[in-house]
């Protein structure tokens, strides 16, 4: 009798043990899979993940995957009464315009992506006619991609290079002895010249004389001659307007004994720069992109959930990949989700209308739609932007600058310098 009564219990035990083993094995082999009955909402990333532009694409994908996993683990996102898990579909266009268009169509037509995030520049120009015709909400990090007709193209996070004005303003206020600056940048219209014009305008407004703007191509393998040439003019400030070659330029500044102030748009992988120069040399460098474990990002007014936790998760999974875009695409994704929730739909037209109609909270606080005075449409969200300085070998936010305020006061100076460098303005 005893054996009869034990059989069901044993079967039950075996069933539970087997189920537990399968669950444990699945969880350990596929830690990111969350079993869910939710529908799936796909967002697309049509970005460079290989080639020279990969540092401005791939880290963003890693960041978005962290955000999507966090949302999914917490039960998904509810839009219009329906709860969705977020799926990030990506396409590597390698900064090739034909591939960019191919990838864009693939993400929209095959992956059913509701919104597409892109880096910007020629790859956005390549997809813009199709995206506009099909009314696909697309985001860019370069608001100079905006045209008077690009109703579905928005720049909701980085407004490259408008935020650079805040670093110059801070520099002039804190170092009033600084009188002259030299700008070095690559000579492309998408990144380098836009940034050079913005820095020229910012220096002019700050009363700092730009004594040299040195433009170089993408074929430079040795920056010694360029740095020698610029340092011969004895600038008080050495300004790197874009980030492709910050490391070799910083290395040359170090070896050629530069003692003045350094300001740069970005200082990606600054640990490597310190390893190639010295902590003492890099200390004091001013730039615009914070680490997300910065204490100032934990303060009120920053619209990014648990920045320090995000920073830790990113660096745990991808210890050598943090760059300026690591948090930017996630910030765009979060902003879009907020708009979709408010619209009650992920449909591009509804979200675009909601984005433009409502007061938007920019990632660092503030948030005004801007752009018509420069590009013909107010589709760039401009808010507070941090001024970051290397202190004891670590990036630390000094304060937040008012980009919108600077633009409203000095728009004409900016337009003048944009035109002088042959850039498109309305």
């Amino acid at each position: 009798m005893a054996t009869h009564t034990q059989h069901p219990a044993r079967r039950k035990f075996l069933k539970k043990a087997a189920a537990g083993t399968v669950a444990a094995t699945t969880a350990s082999v596929f830690p990111n899979i969350v079993l869910s009955a939710n529908k799936t909402l796909t967002v697309g990333m049509n970005i460079p993940m290989t080639g020279d532009y990969a540092p401005w694409g791939l880290p963003g994908l890693y960041g978005c995957e962290i955000i999507a996993n966090n949302i999914n683990k917490e039960g998904g996102v509810t839009i219009g009464g329906e709860t969705y898990d977020i799926k990030v579909a990506s396409y590597d266009h390698g900064y090739d315009t034909e591939k960019a268009l191919q990838g864009f169509k693939k993400l929209v037509l095959e992956d059913d992506a509701s919104m597409i995030m892109m880096l910007g520049g020629s790859t956005v120009a390549a997809v813009l006619p199709w995206a506009t015709r099909k009314k696909v909400l697309t985001t860019t990090l370069l608001p100079s991609d905006i045209t008077p007709d690009s109703n579905y193209l928005v720049a909701t996070c980085e407004s490259h290079p408008l935020y650079n004005v805040t670093g110059v303003e801070w520099l002039a206020r804190n170092f009033p002895d600084v009188k002259s600056a030299a700008i070095v940048t690559n000579n492309d219209a998408e990144y380098g010249l836009q940034s050079a014009a913005t820095y020229q305008a910012a220096f002019e407004v700050a009363g700092i004389d730009v004594i040299d703007t040195h433009l170089h191509g993408f074929d430079v393998t040795d920056f010694a001659p360029i740095v020698s040439s610029v340092l011969a003019k004895n600038p008080d400030v050495f300004c790197m307007a874009t980030s492709f070659y910050v490391t070799p330029i910083m290395e040359q500044l170090y070896h050629q004994g530069y003692k003045g102030k350094i300001i740069s748009c970005t200082l990606d992988y600054y640990d490597e720069i310190i390893a190639k120069t010295s902590k003492e040399f890099v200390n004091g460098t001013i730039f615009q992109f914070p680490d997300f474990d910065d204490p100032k990002l934990q303060e009120a007014g920053v619209n990014f959930p648990d920045p320090a936790g995000f920073d830790a998760a990113f660096r745990k999974d991808h210890p050598n990949d943090w760059s300026a875009v690591a948090w930017e695409y996630p910030a765009i994704l979060l902003n879009w989700l907020d708009a979709a929730k408010a619209a009650g739909s992920a449909d591009s037209e509804s979200v675009a209308a909601t984005l433009k109609a409502n007061k938007q909270e920019f990632v660092f606080g503030g948030g005004d739609w801007w752009g018509s005075q420069l590009w013909g449409l107010d589709n760039a969200l401009v808010g507070r932007w941090p001024i970051v300085v290397i202190e004891d070998g670590k990036a630390r936010i000094q304060e937040y600058g008012d980009v919108a305020g600077w633009l409203s006061n000095n728009k004409d100076v900016l337009v003048k310098h944009m035109k002088d460098l042959g850039l498109r303005t309305v």
Binding site: A54, S229, Q256
Partner: protein, 289 residues
């Protein structure tokens, strides 16, 4: 005056890299008649080896240089054995094969190093030598130019004072005549590509701590190497070295006093002019049919 002297220093150091990259290309073309489009990628493999072993796995820098040279030499020898030798009578075939190798090596580098940012190698020789209170030469660059000069000197000695070197030059001048003298042209081709690839590997290893390392860095190297090779005289090693020094100084001075883009464009123009006015280059000589 200070800028002028600093530019001479900058140009001289740059010429070492140009020469190392160019002589390998010249050697391979001279002996085998193959335009090795993958030569820049051989330089890249040398740089990646230093990044992987030295920067990632703390292998001593000097040992990684030896390993980089060895690895690139083996790759070169495999290219000769399995690609260039079967294509010997088909110059276009050899060229297309080298383009294939170019892509394979780029993808291999991506597999090893991953996607993302350019790789950086911390300089093993830190600090800067300062002369006359204004002339600044980083010790890493000083080391590189010293090794480059030593390597080119050794190559020169090899080519002019050893039987193998004479044989190599003989094959580059006339393969058939050399064969009639009992010189094994297959063996000489193998030695030529081994030496040429070793020079490329050394150039990459020396450049590694001084430049952005990425799978596409060979592109700029091969353009420079072609300019130097054509200006120096296709097939002429001494011409390649002289042209390397001249071109590096020219490029450095134009970049310093005008603009880097002007330097590159005018450099290419000079190459075209040399092709039109003096197709044999500085040191090349016309071969009668």
């Amino acid at each position: 005056m200070e800028l002028f002297l600093q530019s001479i220093v900058n140009g001289t150091i740059q010429s070492g890299f140009f020469a190392l990259a160019a002589v390998g290309l010249v050697l391979i073309f001279g002996v085998m008649g193959v335009v090795n489009f993958a030569h820049g990628e051989l330089v890249m493999v040398g740089a990646y080896t230093v990044w992987f072993l030295h920067a990632q796995h703390n292998t001593p820098f000097l040992i990684t240089i030896v390993i980089a040279i060895s690895l690139v030499t083996v790759i070169g020898m495999l290219m000769e054995k399995f690609l260039f030798r079967p294509m010997r009578d088909d110059p276009l075939g050899g060229l297309i094969c080298s383009i294939g190798v170019l892509f394979i090596l780029q993808v291999a580098a991506t597999l090893v190093g991953g996607d993302g940012p350019s790789k950086q190698v911390p300089p093993p020789f830190e600090g800067t030598m300062v002369l006359f209170d204004f002339l600044r030469i980083p010790y890493q660059r000083l080391f590189s130019i010293a090794v480059s000069i030593a390597a080119l000197g050794l190559l020169w000695h090899f080519l002019t004072h050893t039987k193998l070197g004479w044989a190599l030059r003989a094959v580059s001048q006339d393969r058939e005549a050399a064969s009639l003298q009992g010189i094994n042209s297959n063996r000489i081709s193998m030695i030529a590509i081994a030496v040429g690839a070793a020079m490329a590997g050394l150039a990459g290893a020396l450049m590694a701590p001084l430049t952005n390392i990425n799978p596409h860095m060979g592109h700029n190297v091969i353009i420079t190497a072609f300019i130097v090779t054509i200006v120096g005289g296709v097939g002429s090693l001494s011409g390649a070295v002289i042209a390397s020094v001249l071109y590096a100084l020219y490029h450095t001075f134009v970049t310093t006093y005008f603009n880097g883009t002007v330097a590159t464009i005018s450099g290419l123009l000079i190459m075209v002019l040399v092709l039109i006015i003096r197709p044999t280059g500085i040191m090349g000589h016309r071969v009668s049919e």
